[in-house]
């Protein structure tokens, strides 16, 4: 028997879309926080003040990595926020999924293809900004606190 040159195979899988290139990068300022945004879609660059200062040693910096997910056609659903320690994860159906890791100072998320620019800039970006502020300075749960409408049992 001769040895085979090898079986057929496909390229390594990226079913989770982890390795979508994010060539677009810009730095913004949210209050005293420097936010570096990486994305694969111009329309996901937020309309926030650009940060033109040199990153100082004591400056708080947080990274947003936002993927426009062309394979997700889902609309936004009511947000579900899962909080645990320094990690907050938000699911809005398949239209938007993201997580904020306070310890690693990064916000990582997917924005579905069906989410238009207005929804993104008027609805999601303020949400990200609020979570960013609290993620850098506050208790991981505190982005809920001041506007809490009160507790209700499951």
């Amino acid at each position: 028997m001769r040895e085979s040159d090898g079986p057929n195979h496909v390229d390594p899988l990226d079913l989770l879309r982890r390795f979508v290139p994010t060539p677009l990068k810009a730095a913004y300022r949210i209050g005293a926080i420097r936010v570096v945004v990486e994305t694969n879609d111009f329309s996901l660059l937020p309309e926030l003040p650009l940060d033109v200062t040199v990153n100082g040693p004591h400056q708080q910096t947080l990274q947003w990595k936002l993927i426009r997910d062309k394979d997700s056609q889902g609309r936004l659903e009511e947000p579900m926020l899962l909080t645990s320690g320094g990690l907050a994860v938000v699911g809005m159906g398949t239209g938007c999924l993201f997580g904020l890791d306070q310890e690693r100072q990064e916000l990582l998320g997917f924005i579905g293809a069906a989410i238009d620019a207005r929804t993104y800039h008027e609805f999601l970006v303020p949400f990200f900004c609020r979570m960013t502020n609290e993620g850098v300075y506050g208790d991981p749960h505190s982005y809920l606190s001041e506007e809490s409408t009160g507790a209700s049992d499951a």
């Binding site: 028997m1 001769r2 040895e3 085979s4 040159d5 090898g6 079986p7 057929n8 195979h9 496909v10 390229d11 390594p12 899988l13 990226d14 079913l15 989770l16 879309r17 982890r18 990595k65 993927i67 997700s72 889902g74 659903e77 009511e78 947000p79 579900m80 926020l81 899962l82 909080t83 645990s84 990690l87 994860v89 938000v90 699911g91 159906g93 398949t94 999924l97 997580g99 890791d101 690693r104 990582l108 998320g109 997917f110 609805f123 303020p126 949400f127 208790d139 749960h141 505190s142 982005y143 809920l144 606190s145 001041e146 506007e147 809490s148 409408t149 009160g150 209700s152 049992d153 499951a154």
Partner: protein, 351 residues
């Protein structure tokens, strides 16, 4: 922290409340020990799961999960599940997964939303109470996915192959999608091989050897498989969780099929379907096997470099097993018979 949050954390037993963030009403779930009162732990594919929930029903359900097997592993992860009756999980019909860096998000209609943290080896999810009664959801979806996503961070390599056992020795069947792995797997199971896994096999390592684990998920067979297995007429194809129409057969309901949860890898067959009749065995070099498994595995994020090393070293060790490409244009039962004779002949030769 607000008064509302103090109230929540100090005394209110519920794990969910609604809050307003930037004028968006948000169903908020806090995974705190005070709210997840029901706890247990179990072994799963060479790992140990510390499980906690707010649902007594769900805690009871863990006892029914067939996937639970004993092991001596010291690798562990946490799984925390809140059940919540009033949230909606969208109109999607298929499971939806996305991941960035160390985080993975899973929308799992109709039952829930789950996140995975590879760095901290934690799973957090919100599920409907009905999930507690849906063993298929756990055995076919959530538990395999959990090991699929977190396994490499715990010394377990999820590999896309079937696994069958003969007298404690495992035969792994791999191949491209459409090569006929599942039909061959069922045919081998009907020839006296015990079924360990059909689609994904989880390989761990103990001090002496590799161990192949299965989670006893249903065998998934495409509707055209009925031409090979007329007995499938007793079943109806269903829309599976990834949206495909397929038969999902509980192997334990198939006459003459036995199941096992672990075995020890000894042979590897890379299946290729051909149009020409016959069934041919072509020896396969270790580097070919290694390349196949490396390339058919999900890429891992650089945030967990040890996971990549673990998987590669397991694949490296696995690839040293005797391996063949099987090119077959035969009926799956004939291919199974040929492989069975081949394997048994090899066993006799060894004796």
């Amino acid at each position: 922290m607000s008064i509302g949050c103090h109230l929540f954390f100090e005394g209110i037993p519920g794990a969910v409340f609604r809050a307003r963030v930037e004028n968006i009403v948000t169903a908020t779930f806090s995974f705190a020990r005070q709210t997840l009162l029901f706890r247990t732990d179990f072994h799963l594919a060479g790992t140990r799961c510390f499980f906690s929930t707010n649902s007594q029903d769900l805690l009871q359900a863990t006892k029914r999960w067939r996937a639970v097997t004993k092991s001596a592993s010291t690798h562990s992860f946490e799984m925390e599940i809140i059940t919540e009756p009033v949230v909606r999980f969208g109109d999607e019909r298929s499971a939806h997964f996305r991941g960035l860096h160390h985080l993975v998000f899973a929308v799992l209609p109709p039952h829930g939303f789950v996140s995975f943290d590879l760095l901290r080896r934690r799973v957090r999810g919100v599920l409907t109470p009905a999930a507690a009664d849906d063993d298929v959801f756990w055995n076919s979806l959530l538990l395999p996915i959990t090991i699929g996503i977190l396994g490499t961070t715990m010394g377990v390599a999820p590999l896309h192959c079937a696994c069958l056992d003969r007298d404690g020795s495992a035969l792994l069947v791999a191949g491209q999608s459409g090569a006929g792995k599942s039909t061959l797997t069922l045919a081998l199971a009907q020839r006296g091989f015990a079924l360990v896994s059909d689609d994904w096999t989880y390989i761990s390592r103990d001090r002496l050897s590799l161990i192949a684990h299965g989670l006893l998920a249903p065998i998934k067979l495409l509707p055209d498989t009925i031409r090979f297995f007329p007995e499938l007429r007793d079943f109806a194809p269903i829309r599976t969780l990834n949206g495909e129409l397929a038969f999902e057969i509980d192997p334990q309901t198939m006459p003459g099929v036995t199941v096992k949860s672990i075995s020890y890898p000894r042979w590897i067959f890379l299946l290729e379907r051909t149009a020409a009749p016959g069934c041919h065995f072509i020896p396969c070099r270790p580097e070919c096997v290694r390349e196949f498994f490396e390339r058919s595995a999900e890429r891992l994020p650089r945030e967990v470099p040890d996971a990549q090393m673990t998987r590669s070293s397991i694949i490296q060790e696995l690839s040293e097993q005797p391996s063949w490409i099987v090119r077959s244009g035969e009926h799956p039962r004939n291919t199974a018979a040929t492989i069975s004779d081949f394997v048994l002949g090899a066993s006799y030769a060894r004796v």
